[in-house]
Amino acid sequence: MKREHEDAGRMGGDDPMAMGPEIAKGKMVPVMRTGDEMECGVDELLAALGYKVRASDMADVAQKLAQLEVAMSSDDASHLPQLAADTVHYDPSDLYAWLDSMLSELNAPPCAQLLPPTATASRGNGHSSTAAKPSAAAPPRASALHDFKPVVSAASVGRVVCDTEQQSEKILSPRDPKRMRTCSSSSSSSSAKEVASSLKSATEALPVVVVDTQETGVRLVHALLASAEAVQQENLKAADALLKQISMLAASQSGPMRKVAGYFAEALARRIYRHSPLPQADRVALDLLHSHFYESAPYLKFAHFTANQAILEAFTSFRQVHVIDFGLKQGMQWPALLQALALRPGGPPSFRLTGIGPPQPDNSDALQEVGWKLSMLAESIGIDFHFRGFVASSLADLEPQMLLEPEGKRRDRDGVEEAVAVNSVMELHQLLARPGAMEKVLGTVRALRPRIVTVVEEEANHNGRTFLERFTEALHYYSSMFDSLENGGDSGADGELEEQQRHRAMADAYLGRQICNVVASEGTDRTERHETLGRWRGRMAQAGFEPVHLGSNAFKQASMLLALYAGGDGFRVEEAEGCLTLGWHTRPLIATSAWRVGPAADFAL
């Protein structure tokens, strides 16, 4: 976008070039002077944005930009609509040559110029090796601009980039190029009035900070992606400079976009400066954040209800049942299952729960407390309840014989073995940080011969090979997530219960920690290795499991639960080959699947 180039021109003017206030009109006022960045060759800040400007030409570029500004602002309004973008521009990234051509054409009779918003296309192409999605997004956007050339160029001549996409939301949720194109067509009509407003702002001599949140939203996303790419290319200085830009842009945003940008910027800063990763918050604090996340968004409730339904169906007609929970935390999943078992036709079974949790730093036995509370509840509703807690720092430390009773599975009076269910809510992805751990755990699960294995995982690909891939995916995922937290709660922020706001703030912090882990950590520290449902399916199939379809009961219950949430129509429960996913608008965010041991005796370990 044109404004961005000129900004970049200014930012790239880190050599002691005085960019006077008259140039800054309509732009962000603070000028970046980032010390001696004169390197022979291409200026690196501009290069990060896709422009090749020789450092030695920088002074010329700045001067020409000033001339261009003067020339344009002196034109009267009648000329501007006629400046159709007709000339051919061969290399949009060559800012110097473009400025030359613009100036010569303006001084000559006005003829059409092709706009460097196509530079976004070049940037997109330049990034084609990495994240596929932004580059897929950029070319259609550029072509959309081509389609509406006359109006667009007029607007840009007026020094306001007609951001024809209105994309700040669209980038974040569906990455559908088609949708972007239709968006741009609808907004071209608004460009006319933008031209008028831009003229006004251009003629003012005072620096005006135009806060156009949609446009700054798009710029913010671009800046984040550019910074991430700079980090990937080990260009830490450029990344740092972009971070400053990001924080300025983020200040102009509101709501979920601001929070997302804030967390990602912080995570990038940690990565750039190699701060130590977030200190391992003590388990009490982590549990607190987790329980607030439970309360402020439907994702965990959805996970628990659908998994419980699968377990309930697998346990029909068994008189002895055993559930192994890979991450007990506060045990919020089990009261509902206990209640459902108490009310099932035929009466409740004898219920054993094995809960696994991480070691506690202060020697308190959190698992036993949870077990005690659950047993109180079970006793009051008449269920024979047994509990065992296991402390394990990693699931890979578990052996099958540890989890079953010392004498193996219990048998009821008819000699039927107890039914075992293994439940994992967002625990398995952490095993991917250590090679071999996942295979061992799946082998352990298989050795338990469970009736059903319920797996709930985030539906995202945060385990890509390159950093930029992971960053882009995470940006999209957490933007949708924060959006849903903001808008999926009670309508309207005003009049919100103070408690709900507190829950929301804690839920934000919970997600912020995940973001920090995905972006700033590497190796075994990076435990938030989310993967998509397709990959989990493949992994489970390879380990010898076959899928169990979650029935329509689970779907109905999940839909009813979501209907109770005030912003309910944003949430979508979908069924995909027997698995249920919950998403925000068209983006699935969490997926529940159920498995049982397949008949094949041999499988690849």
Partner: protein, 166 residues
């Protein structure tokens, strides 16, 4: 007793000709309970403000049980006796209505007003869902061991209407 009955019978005999019978409802608490059990939750709560008798009858678990069953879709024909004991253990039908069913019905009514976007499958509250939410709330209220500081139960906050605290 007989003295009390005679006037009734005389009244009936007299009124029989006129075709009108007067029957003070407050004389028969069970009949009152039957009637109140056919109200919706809000009206029942209002009825409890009429007089002490109505307040007492309106608090009966049987009355609220009837109200609950009237307003939720009972998924499968579960053992009614079993349900009663479980619900009693979790806190009772009146509490179940107040905490789960009532707010859920209000929320769904609000959603319905907004438009037909909600799928029909999701438009009613099922007893099993209400009981699941109720059991979670009950679990949250259980005290911790050793009097550790307990957070206020919040799993049902999502059902609360926003209150203007300005």
């Amino acid at each position: 007793m007989m003295m009390l009955l005679l006037p009734h019978r005389e009244e009936e005999e007299e009124g029989g000709a006129a075709g009108r019978r007067r029957f003070p409802i407050n004389d028969n608490a069970d009949l009152l309970a039957e009637v109140l059990g056919r109200l919706d939750g809000r009206s029942l709560a209002v009825a409890g403000c009429v007089c002490r008798l109505w307040s007492a009858v309106g608090r009966r678990e049987a009355v609220w049980e009837a109200v609950c069953h009237r307003h939720v879709a009972v998924g499968r024909a579960g053992a009614a006796g079993g349900t009663r004991s479980v619900v009693a253990a979790l806190g009772g039908y009146r509490r179940l209505y107040r905490l789960c069913i009532g707010p859920a019905l209000d929320r769904l009514a609000g959603v319905r007003r907004q438009g037909p976007a909600v799928s029909s499958a999701a438009r009613h509250v099922s007893l099993s869902l209400a009981l699941s939410l109720f059991s979670i709330d009950c679990y949250e209220r259980l005290g911790g061991v050793g009097g550790r500081q307990q957070q206020p139960p919040a799993s049902l906050l999502f059902l609360c209407k926003p209150v203007d605290v300005s």
